[in-house]
Structure formats: structure tokens, C-alpha cells
Amino acid sequence: MTDAAAPSSSAERRSPLIGNRVLLTLVVVCLLGVGLLPFASMAPNRLVSGQSMSTWAAFAPWQLVTLAGLLALLALASFAHLMPRRPGHAVALAAALALLALDFVALGGYAHRALADASPAARVSQGSAFWVLLFAAGLIMIDALQRLRPPPVWRALYAATALTLVGVCFATDLLSPLSIMREFANQRDNFVDQLTRHLALVAGALVPALVVGLPLGLLARRRPGARNVLFSVLNVFQTLPSIAVFGLLIAPLAALAAALPWLREVGVGGIGAAPALIALVLYSLLPIVRNTYAGLAGVAPGTLEAARGMGMTARQILWRVEIPLALPVILSGLRIVTVQAIGLTVVAALIGAGGLGAFIFQGLGQYAIDLVLLGAIPTIVLAVVADFTLQLLVALSRPTRAGQG
């Protein structure tokens, strides 16, 4: 290719009127959400469904003005001829942060006001407009960061600011009258227990999966015959619905525990942690084995030949060349299984293994939505945080990261 520097011509032809159509779309989504959806709901007690409160009713007047101002600012930033690009993105970043804060402050403020002279049983819950504003603020941040491409330090600083802001909202008294926070206060000890249990199950599954999976991946690399058998068996396993595997493990484990009393004494039984751990390990094997194999297979033949040519032994080649080069791919495998295990552990609550899923299914059984959210939201946060952290690890493990942007 000689003069392939030609960029796609469509970018040139696009009308310059709207500089950022993503941002404009998100502003419209905010407006629709605020206009059409309830921001909060209030119920006289936990059992009856609440009465919807529109944004107009729930926001204090100054909050409404601020909201209108922020949305207008964001709309301005999306028009190229009204605001230059880079300052526009910076304005969007700042406004999104303010929108995020406003969302929480308005919800907390409404809850405080509404419950001031209500019965102690009364409850205030967040409505869909709250979620719309929250997600829109998040997406505006992501979009602006993707466009602005600030240095990693600034990016991290910005993320930390946003997280601190949310943390402050939760740490102070602001959100405490909310129904879900009351639920949390009631369940505080139990919540910590189940969260610990959830994490313990995940860790308890990952460690054996790594211990078994890494050598199996190496085996698959060295023995092509073993590879096909291994992958087809693990692949079938990966296909099975988790609840089916949990269920199918119960009967044999129960029989085993009945036959061998010492097993029962160490906690193995048809229900509980044992079938959950076994199933989680089995589910985790395929991604670990596959990524270990793929990572090792991805090492360039020339590199291996050079290593051999310089007189390295097979063991030295494995530890000094193959594993360091395969590490990013192996770690992406670990990322996949960690996120997957966090999700599967939710389902394990159905067979009595505990964890955050216990809140979800207990809540579903009692039609206690706050309890459901108390289980669901932390698991989602857990999964996203684990994903993000491991992604960072993958990026750091790239041997050539200095050269890549």
C-alpha cells in the first residue's frame, strides 16, 4: 500500500453542525427519562407497591434549575459551532460529574423530605428516571473520556473523583432514608457474611481451577492428540446450564456423604458449598485451559527457534520465553473465569451455598424488591470491578506495553 493514508471520506462529508451526536442523544434520553418516567416512589409500608413521583414533584426547585442548566450545557457542548471540541469534552466531563451528584442529592433530599412526617413504616424507593440519569451520566463520562483521550493519570484521577463522589453520598446520611439502604442497615451483619461467603466461593473455585487448568493448558500445547479430547469435553461442560449442573451434583454428593460419614463431617453434602465448588471449578477449567493453550501457541515460532538456538533448555524456554509471552492471554482467561464465577455463585445460592444470591432468591420469594436489589447490585458491582481490575493486570502484563499507545 503506497498511499493508503486516505481516511474514510464519510468523516469529511458529515455535517459539522452537530459535533457530538452521542452526547446529544444522551441528553435527549435524559429529557425523555425525566419527562416520562417516575424518579422515585413512596409507599406507606414495605408490602404495598408505592406511588410514583415524577421528577417535577421529587426535585427541589433549585435542583430542577440545576438539572435544566446541566442538560442545556451538555446540549451546547454537543454542537460543534457553539463550543470547540476539546473544551466541549471537558465541559461534558464536568457536567456529567455534576449530574451524577445531583441525581443522588435529589433522591436523598426527596427521601428526607417525604419521610419527615410519615409513619416509620413508610418507604421511599428510587424510580426508573433515577437510573436513567445515573446511566446517562456514566455514559457521558465514558464517551467524553474516549474522545478526549487524556493521559492515564488524569483518567484515573477522574474515575477516582467520580467514585469518591458516590462514596460520599453513601457514607453520609444522605441516602439513609431510602428503602434499600434501610434494608441494608437491617441486614448489615448478614450482608457482610454473605459477601465474604460469595468471595470465598469464588476464590475457592479459582485456586483449584488454576492449579489444574494451567498444566492442562500446557499439555494441550504439547500434545495435539490430547487437545481435541480435552477441549470437546470441557466445551460440552461449558454449555450446560449452571443450575442443571448444581442439581445433577446433589444426588451423587448426597449419596457419597451418606456413605462416608467423615466427608459429611468436613462439610460435604448434597447441598451447600461442595456441589457449588465442584461445579465452579469445572466451569472455570475451559477458559483457563483454552487461554493457556492459546497464549503458548501464540508465541512466534521464530522466537522459540531463537531461544533454542541460543542454547536454552526446554525448561528455560518455558519459564523465560513462553510463559512471559503467554501471560497476557492467560490472565485474560483468569479475567473471564473470575467474572463468570462471580455470576455463577449467585445461582449457587439456590442449592444452599449462600453468597449474595441468597438475598436475590430470598427477596424474589418474599416479593421484597429491596432485598433483591441488595443482592443484585453488589454482584454486578463486584463483577464489573473484578473485570476492570483484571483488565488492568492484563494490560500491565503485556511485555511490549511501552511501545503501544
Partner: protein, 375 residues
Amino acid sequence: MIELQGLTKRYAGKTVVDDITLTFETGEFAVLIGPSGCGKSTTLKMINRLIPASGGRITLGGEDVAALPVEQLRRRIGYAIQSTGLFPHWSVARNVATVPQLLKWPRSRIDDRVDELLAMFHLDPTTFRDKLPHQLSGGQAQRVGVARALAADPEVLLMDEPFGAVDPITREVLQTEMRRVHQQTGKTIVFVTHDMDEALSLATRIALLNDGKLVQYERPVEMMVEPADDFVREFIGQADLGLKLLSRRWVHQYQRPPSVAPRDALPEPGSHWWMIDDAGRPTALAGARLDDEDAVTRVKAEWTATPEMSMKEALSRMVWYRVMVLPVVDESGQLIAEVGMQGVMGIERGPGANASSTRAAGNGALSDNDGGDPA
């Protein structure tokens, strides 16, 4: 005929094609050449409007291309690119049939046309029609790519470094085929390459671009003999100018009637003759060896010449096989002529250097035999 008038292309303030004006005559095999980033591909792609021009005008047979509906324009212009761009999910036949199908030709006409084109590129239709692109060798895929570009009998054929991805030997074979196809079809071809040897072997006219500007638009030999400036001289390369000149001369221009031996006779010293079999094929050469004047040498296929061969290649064979003359054979292998060192040395440099050859300069653009009659 394609005319570019003040053609200009700017990207983000940078001018990559700068006010180019030139005419590709009907039947011309024009090669656009220049260093990386000189704007040659961009110029080519503005002709079929894959890249919109920022300024200037292109006419195709007198019609402004900007005024034609873009898909219709492209269906009138064949287009072949590097690594062929064959559609991997379509058979060879369907690939070749792309434009005829878009033009809604009747089925039978498409089938006939596909077979005709495959045969033209020496691809047996019964073998190749149903193959998928990944089952082809690099050279075969390139032939299919060119066949596809020719399918709807376009007025013009644009080729963007079509042989850039194949090995040197295949590339040479493809170039020979391209020359033949050009002569057979008489199409106007605009061809982009960065390889001067490829340009010299194919072009009837070379347009040398540098930094978005047209430096010289000239016939190959004239460009070698009278470079417009130092850039052209440097780009062509000085060291092997003589050999490059030979690469533009063809055996048929310098061949002469062969001296065929009466049976069992030996040539006189200083002369030579050919022995032929009953079918008229050369079997041996008596005399004309560099090292041993009286030797009788068995004729091998490796050192026979064909009329279409370049004189550069003929010279190379003479040097390598240490013979002063090569037999020139036709397709059936019959001896039709011979070409020797005298022919090589008799080559004129061109109109500027040799007054006797100027009369030949008016020959048609197609033949490019500006060397005049062979001795």
C-alpha cells in the same frame, strides 16, 4: 480516453495530489509510478471515484465522471487490486460474473463470458469455475482478479498494484500475460506500481509522480533517454540503463532468418548453422560458441527465445549458456528465426540519441516499437 484536468486531492489541509493534468489515450497502457505517498493510488482511485476529488475534473470518453451515477460509472470501469480482493465466499465463476450480474446480463451470456475469460487467462473453466478463492494459488487468484475486472468488457481497466503480493517469478509470468491481454483486447489500462522494472515491461506510457505532482509523462524509452530532471534520472536508476533499455526491446524486432544446415555439413569457421528435425524444431547448433567455435551444441528449451521475449532476457540467456545466437521458436517449437549478439549491439538508444530512428517515433501507441526496423 481519460482526461485528468487539474486534478487535486487534499486531506486535512495536506495536498496529496496536486493539480495533475494528463490524458490517457484510448488503447494506452499507462503506468502511474512514483515513491510511496506520491499520490499515484489516490489519482487512480479518483478515476472511479473511490476517492472523491477535491478539485479539477476527470472525463471518461468526454463525459465528466462526477456527473455520472457512481455505481454506473464503476461498472463501466474494470478494477483490479492487490491481493485481488476476490470475494472469499463466492466461487471463481461468481467472482468473475460480479459486474455482469450487477448489469443483469442473461444467465447464458454470463456463463459464456466467464468461460471465455477463464480460457483467456489459461484457467481451464471446468477445473476452475467452481473453486473458491482460497483454493487458488497466488498467481491464479490474480488472474481471476483481472478476469473479473474485464468481465463486462469495460472501456477502461484500472489496476492498483495488482501483482504486488506475488513472488517474482509468478509476477513476470503475469506481466507477460498482461501484455498479451492488452494487445488482444486493446483496452485502455491505467496501472499503478512502485516497481520501475514492472513499469518498463508493461507501459506504453509512464507517468512519474512525486509529492503529488506529475513529474514526467512519457514513453518508457524516451523517459530513460531524456529524463525531465534529476529526480526522474534517479528514480529510473543509472547503473543498468542499458539493460533497462533492452527490457523495452523485443526479440521480434531484432531477429533475422536462421541459417539452417544442409544435413551433415559442418559450418565454416566464423559462421554457424542450425540443425532441425523433421518437424522443423531446432535440435543442435553448430559453431557460435564463445569458448569453442567448432563445437556442436544440443539445443535446450532453456536457451530458446520467443518473438515476444525482451532482448534483456535474450541477452541474459546468451550470457548464461555461452552462445552467441539463440534460436527463435514459435508456439509449436518450430525454428522461425534467430537472434544474436549483433542484434543486441544493434539496438538504438532512442530518438534523441539516434537520428535514424526518429522516423519510427510516429508508430501507434500500442506497439511502442520506437526502435525502428531491426538490422
